[in-house]
Amino acid sequence: MPKKIGVYICHCGSNIAGTVDVEAVAEFAKGLGGVTLAKDYKFMCSDPGQDMLKEDIRSSGLDGVVIAACSPLMHELTFRKAALEAGLNPFLVQIANIREQCSWVTEDRALATQKAKALVAGAVARALSHEPLEMRRVEVQPSALIVGGGIAGIQAALDLADAGVQVYMVEREPTIGGHMAMFDKTFPTLDCSACILTPKMTAVGSHPNIQLMAYSEVEEVSGYIGNFRVKVRRKAAYVDHDKCTGCGLCMEKCPYKVDSEFDQGLSKRRAIYVPFPQAVPNKPVIDRDACAYFKKGKCRVCEKVCEPGAIDFEQQDSIEEIETGAIIVSTGFQAMDMTAMPQLGYGKHAEVYSALEFERLNNAAGPTLGKIVTKDGREPTSVAILHCTGSRDENYHRYCSRVCCMYALKYAHLIKEKIPEAAVYQFYIDMRCFGKGYEEFYQRLQEEGVRFIRGKAAQVWSGKEYRAIATDDTGLEVDDAQLVVQAEDTLLGKLVRVPVDMIVLTPAFEARDDAEQVGKAFLLNRGADGFFLEQHPKLAPVSTTNDGVFIAGGCQGPKDIPDTVAQGSAAASKALSLITRREIEIEANTAYIDEELCSGCKNCLDICPYNAIDFDDEKNRAVLNEALCKACGTCAATCPSGAIRARHFADDQIFAEIEGVMSI
């Protein structure tokens, strides 16, 4: 039976009709094969416009509709819905974009009309080859997985768990807390980081709706929005955490010490350890690489002193499988390794510190119990803080790390508080104090007598090095224990050399070394800077192109704690709005493999970015997993046998459209 197509040319007021002769286009459409009726109308998207469409579908028995109007990205859904309400399969609707891509971009009325006719002819030809498709509905698992237990993940977990969602939190380290747990004070309010963070950590650990999987890593992710399946590797702690009471005797008695990661190597921890006293969970793990028993087969002191008998040297990694409806990736950032900038002397001169080292030095629970002292125990009389080390720098990272100006001010305040007579120098390019209360904090620091030198530090010398190269025309006297910072003061327009006792660097915020690997596991794109890419920089800041997977915090880009927490909550709310729908509609225009035509060449297997195509070895045929297919159609373009049909964008449909647009 020949198809009956209805064609509607929208005036869109004068937006289309002002440039395109809509009556002429409607008249032209009437002459096209398969067209039963063609009309032009003032506003097709208006209620009367849609009612007319529905009425025609019913009364004329249309089995295809072409709407020549604005972009399909604008109103395709509107007209699909109207068709459905009139009993027509929504995939039998075709839009001809005669506004954004015709009337608005063409000056000449005759040319615009001609182009509109061609686009309508293409749409009609395509509509004739359309086939009805069914949207598939799938259930959504009422749970969420959060990967990374820093403050972003913690916030998201608590928001979701409080809403009654089952939350799984996977954290690679033995404790949650992330970078924020290492900080001393937070800018600009100077509230103690641990005081505001640890209650939230404890809440995660004890929440009935949160299953915390610390010392664990995501191994494999499969499935799709609403129905992800995730394999989690639970790393062997060699301590049975069900038996362990957290008394800490094992850590006290363990005879082997290594550098503490948490204290940035400024203190030692034991081979059996919890990273810091407020860790959640507060149960120790044994570091195989440091443990004498694992290295030499002797010791087992911890086992001897453990009364509940929790030590288990035979423990193995185990794999746990989770089913989850939504995933939030909050894997954080890393601070740039400052040895990459040898001119700054990090790793060479003892008194050049990274920001995290200085955080620990400042921290009342840190290696010096909060005393700012040099490694040989002197109180510094002068400290230089060097901004933008690795950020806003063509040679390292072009982007701004966004938090350094503010924590550099915080450091200056803390130094002044603890050593009022110390001279503090800030070597900066620009002060970026954009947040709430930030500019005020900057002004406060100016009043506290901190010296601001507008110039990026170019070089750091030890006293000895300096004396060897100095030509002595500056009259600068430098002793062996001192360091010299050189910069160009761009306000004075001259070179300055400042001797100090201690230097703090502000390493660039970086995407983690394994961001590529993590991105691949969760099918996340990354920007040129290596951070995970949001779906839209403004309007979808925590969504990603992988439906059902959201991002939050430092893994998306450099940001401070307030922004990180806001993103954690935002990601939780996006996950919640997905989970509470319980059922969602997914792509109807997936690919389809014709078994008869498939030659078993396997070309499509590698080309599919979603691993949606498997191979049936017995039949020697490719098999499509529709649930995983996102309908890009790349496989269809690759298949040499023409066995793969990209539904709704099938070869015959595209061919028909090409014939149509070229027919005039």
């Binding site: 972009s71 954004e100 063409t106 001609q114 182009k115 970015p609 890009c632 159609g633």
Partner: protein, 144 residues
């Protein structure tokens, strides 16, 4: 009358088609010679689409997709990037100037770029003149 080429444009849904829409929303005027066929991903571009367009009388074909790294489907655009040189070589063997097939990256925010790509390409094809697909009668073609 001067020669006005007909060009078929295959635009990916997420970047280039949206970029073309943006040119419209911003009322940027450009030459009307390109007739757009929307595909979900530039990776969907089956070489036969290009052949079909030429066989239907197109003087040129424009393919536009997301910039490398920005593909909505991860890397479909890179697959197209690899197909195009091969396709160009085939076109040359058929007597079609390879310049008649153009691949461009146009992001959703590059309305202006779409405008200039279209204008430039139309100008270029105007200079090339109409596509002449008449086959050389001296070449014997295999039956079938």
């Amino acid at each position: 009358m001067s020669f006005e080429p007909k060009i078929v444009g295959f635009l990916c849904n997420w970047c280039s088609y949206t970029g073309a829409d943006l040119a419209g929303t911003s009322r940027m005027k450009y030459l009307p010679n390109v007739r757009v066929v929307r595909i979900m991903c530039s990776g969907r571009l089956d070489p036969t689409f290009v052949m079909k367009a030429f066989s239907q009388g197109a003087d040129a074909v424009l393919v536009a997709g997301c910039h490398p790294g920005d593909c909505h489907y991860q890397n479909g655009n890179m697959k197209t990037l690899r197909r195009i040189p091969l396709l160009r070589r085939t076109l040359a063997q058929l007597g079609i100037e390879p310049e008649r097939l153009r691949l461009e990256w146009v992001s959703a925010s590059e309305g202006e770029r779409y405008q200039s790509v279209v204008n430039e390409f139309v100008e270029q094809v105007r200079k090339l003149g109409p596509l002449n697909l008449e086959l050389d009668p001296s070449v014997e073609r295999a039956a079938g």
